[in-house]
């Protein structure tokens, strides 16, 4: 009953249309701010989530930039390797061990004849992205497991097979083919059966188990001088622009495509900055407008408020009443903006799911917490404005 009477006495003089417009502006401001936060958290989720590990982006194969000055001198010295390992963007470093023996592979089927000289590399097993395969070897093993870059199969299927009138091969068929791998060493050639156990995009090299490389190098009596020309860098943030800067500074090279995330990050940072800035400015304007609405309402009802206080209404009673007049509408704006961000996130999840990019369906806690903080901020500013003008 009291509120009903107070509503008759203290009318909101800001006008329904003006109030609705201001609340729409507030909702847009909150939406932009929350979107900025959500974009940022989505981006970090994509970088960190194991479901979204981009095998190209997270693992960078690094070697010296080859030019006329360092031809034949492309070894990475230990000092540089240590320096790379110490960088904040480095999670771990794996050395690529090259085969130093001559080798060839050839088909054992007349229907599918091929022969080629070949070389291999090996990396520590934790740098291999294929799961559920036994990627080890010993001299009594039935075959040598080999991991081939996907790109090689593409070259075969879409170039070589067409020009040589050979059948195209699916990854499943490729894994069924057994071929002969011959290593040439001090006691003549030794042949093994070999099989492709997996195709990978992570490292563009023919990979065999480290044990096989070591055995082959020993067999060929090649001194293992431990020189390294290439290494694999596992980074926790491929979008970190510091990686590209560091590599350039040290005259190192990697596939620039692998650093594309740093370009994406710049774009995303720009989008987030623009969205956040626009939202922030709009929020400031919205706060100023609501403060003015409070001031206007109190100024227009000054006589009624003075008489109410004269008759015994406490300033707290009036402040609470005015807060109830202004705040729930503003809270509604924040809630609508939050729900819109939720819907946007849900839609984004569905769209990206089709591209095998997995995002959480629900908005992040950071976004929810930001919405909560904005609600508290608005309450604080509105309350302060009311108390300031009631007390005066």
């Amino acid at each position: 009953m009291l509120n009903l009477l107070l509503r008759k006495l203290i009318r909101n003089h800001s006008g329904n249309i003006r109030m609705a417009t201001a609340r729409l502006g507030l909702a847009v401001a909150v939406f932009l701010l929350l979107t900025a936060v959500q974009i940022q958290t989505n981006y970090h989720f994509l970088l960190k989530s194991p479901n979204n590990k981009d095998s190209i982006a997270d693992f960078l194969v690094i070697n010296k930039l080859l030019d006329n000055d360092n031809l034949g001198n492309t070894q990475l010295d230990q000092e540089l390797i240590d320096e790379i390992a110490k960088q904040p963007f480095t999670e771990s470093v794996g050395l690529l061990s090259p085969s130093r023996f001559k080798a060839s592979i050839q088909s054992i089927s007349n229907q599918f004849p091929f022969y080629t000289d070949i070389s291999f590399e090996s990396v520590p097993s934790n740098f291999i992205d294929l799961k559920n395969i036994d990627f080890t070897w010993n001299p009594t093993a039935n075959f040598v497991p080999v991991i081939v870059p996907n790109m090689f199969l593409d070259i075969y299927n879409f170039q070589f097979s067409l020009s040589q009138d050979l059948p195209q091969l699916t990854p499943a068929i490729v894994k069924m083919i057994v071929f002969k791998l011959t290593v040439y060493g001090k006691n003549g050639p030794i042949s093994f059966n070999a099989k492709i156990v997996g195709l990978s995009d992570r490292i563009s090299s023919m990979l065999v188990p480290t044990e096989f490389i070591q055995w082959g190098n020993n067999y060929a009596e090649k001194k293992s001088d431990n020189t390294v020309s290439r290494l694999v860098l596992k980074t926790n943030d491929p979008s970190n622009p510091a990686i590209a800067t560091f590599l350039k500074q040290k005259n190192l090279s990697t596939n620039t495509e692998k650093l594309r995330y740093s370009k994406y990050r710049k774009v995303i940072d720009t989008v987030v900055a623009i969205s956040g800035l626009a939202g922030g400015i709009m929020l400031i304007f919205a706060l100023i407008i609501f403060t003015l609405f409070v001031q206007l309402t109190i100024a227009n009802c000054k006589q009624e408020i003075i008489l109410l206080i004269t008759l015994g209404a406490t300033p707290n009673q009036l402040s609470k009443f005015l807060l109830k007049q202004f705040y729930p509408g503003n809270l509604l704006s924040i809630s609508i903006a939050t729900i819109l961000v939720m819907i946007l996130q849900w839609g984004l999840t569905i769209v990206l799911e089709q591209q095998m990019i997995h995002l959480p369906v629900f908005i992040s806690w950071y976004t929810l917490f930001t919405a909560f903080l904005l609600a508290v901020l608005l309450w604080f500013v509105t309350n302060k404005a009311i108390q300031k003008h009631i007390d005066s």
Partner: protein
């Protein structure tokens, strides 16, 4: 519950010779809950000023006024409001009704400003006694001065109080209505064991005054 005035003189009349003759200004006075106090004075001697000072509306005076041991000048706005809700009620000379509310709403507002002690039925009964039942739904300021004065009196009775402060509360009423209004006020004050502080131009016998002073 005690009003204590200690050598209070309003700044605006401090230099007037009439202050020396006053029973109130510059004197030490104690009014207790339950006492009916009449203050009589001709126009221009500060009756309304006294009422406003007692009710905490004016602070331009010398001396001290304390209520229940607390200097009323040192009360913060919320403390003063709570005293006005629960301990002091007032009938203004200039009535001070809300023009945008009906007579009933003006009265009702005071009833619900704090925990109601008067039911809606009692409100209607009192309005009936004062003869304003029929105009309760009219805009308050469209009523006659006599009706507005009775609305103001009824409004003042809607809240709990220890002192009812009235500034020429019957100035627009005829004798018959004065008696009815005074009887209602007296009954309500006795029911609550509350005191009255009333200012008027002339002496009267509307109430059984315990203290009668000239301003």
């Amino acid at each position: 519950m005690i009003f204590e005035l200690n050598k209070v003189i309003p700044s605006i009349i401090a230099d007037r010779p009439s202050v020396e003759l006053s029973d109130v200004w510059g004197k030490h006075i104690i009014w207790k809950k339950g006492q009916f106090v009449k203050i009589t004075a001709p126009s221009g001697t500060g009756k309304t000023t006294l009422v406003h000072i007692l009710y905490g509306l004016r602070k331009d005076y010398i001396g001290d006024i304390s209520y229940d041991g607390k200097n009323i000048l040192q009360l913060n706005p919320n403390e003063l409001a709570q005293i006005r809700q629960q301990h002091w009620s007032i009938v203004f000379q200039d009535l001070r009704l809300f023009s945008s509310l009906t007579a009933r709403e003006n009265i009702e507002l005071k009833r619900v400003l704090y925990n109601p002690i008067i039911t809606e039925e009692q409100l209607s009964e009192m309005a009936n006694q004062l003869g304003i039942q029929s105009i309760l739904n009219q805009p308050a300021t469209k009523c006659s001065y006599g009706e507005q004065q009775r609305i103001g009196i009824l409004r003042a009775l809607m809240q709990p109080f220890d002192f009812l402060i009235m500034d020429e509360p019957f100035s627009h009423l005829d004798n018959a209505n004065k008696k009815i209004a005074a009887a209602l006020i007296s009954a309500e004050c006795k029911r609550r064991n509350a005191g009255i502080i009333i200012t008027d131009l002339d002496k009267d016998d509307h109430f059984d005054y315990h203290i009668s002073l000239n301003l």
